[in-house]
Amino acid sequence: MNDLSSMTLRQYYLSFKSISGILAGLFASSPLTTWVFRGSTDVCLFPPLGDAETIARAALALFAVGVTYAAFHWRDGLTRVSKRAIMLTMLFAIVSFFVYLALFLRFERRVDIPSEKTAVFVTVGSERTPFADSNFPAYSDEDMLRARGPYEEQVRLLWTYKSLVIARLALYISYCGTVLGFVAAFSLGVIPETRHVSQHGR
């Protein structure tokens, strides 16, 4: 137990070569890897946030690095506490994921474009604008997006700004909770392995 207090930051990050570390790295890098691989899958791996998506991805990747660093400083008094901390952060991640899933079903709309063999995901709001109400009174969200086009400027024309901001923030926060919860859990999982490394003098 005492070995943990003498653990260096270098030893800690070297232990990310372990299974826990690799899993933490996969979750931490997911905002960037899903950006690289977007378009190669027909599922939505990051909530579409319109013009804010790039900065949201970069911010989440930075938050994830910050969480790995915070986990290092959380090591004091570990062993029994660490198991509880790992379970709590894992539970937080799982709950966040279910919240994200619920919000995804509520606010994400998929517009298929069979002629291009592709699909576009769009985050919509909960309140339609007067323009949408007057021109598309009986249209579903998907039909309205097909009629106007699944583009950011059209989404802003069809749903109120406030409802879009709320929907996107809710999606982003729950997505962040999922990713950061898993990063924290797996980063905390690295610490006992770091102790093992320290004890064996590597």
Partner: protein, 83 residues
């Protein structure tokens, strides 16, 4: 596959028989936009949206048709004008 909506556009070829008809088009909720060229013409870089395409030629009945770019991979619309 999923795509970035900002990069999705298509070119629509509008033909008529006889050619030389005035082309205008619009999305639901927008005023009609008159295209600079007459049929037969290709309108480039159109956004994916349901489009109302209208054709007018003197001596012929004007015709308007809804075009669905989502399900038509040819991106061509042809009008047979009637007197």
């Amino acid at each position: 596959m999923a795509a970035d909506s900002g990069s999705i556009a298509y070119n629509l070829k509008v033909t008529s028989s006889p050619p030389g008809a005035l082309i205008s088009y619009h999305r639901r909720g927008d005023p009609p936009h008159t295209y600079a060229e007459r049929t037969n013409a290709t309108i480039s870089s159109l956004p994916y949206a349901m489009l109302y395409v209208r054709i007018e030629k003197e001596g012929y009945r004007a015709e308007e048709r809804e075009y669905d770019p989502y399900h038509d991979p040819t991106h061509e619309i042809d009008f047979q004008l009637q007197r």
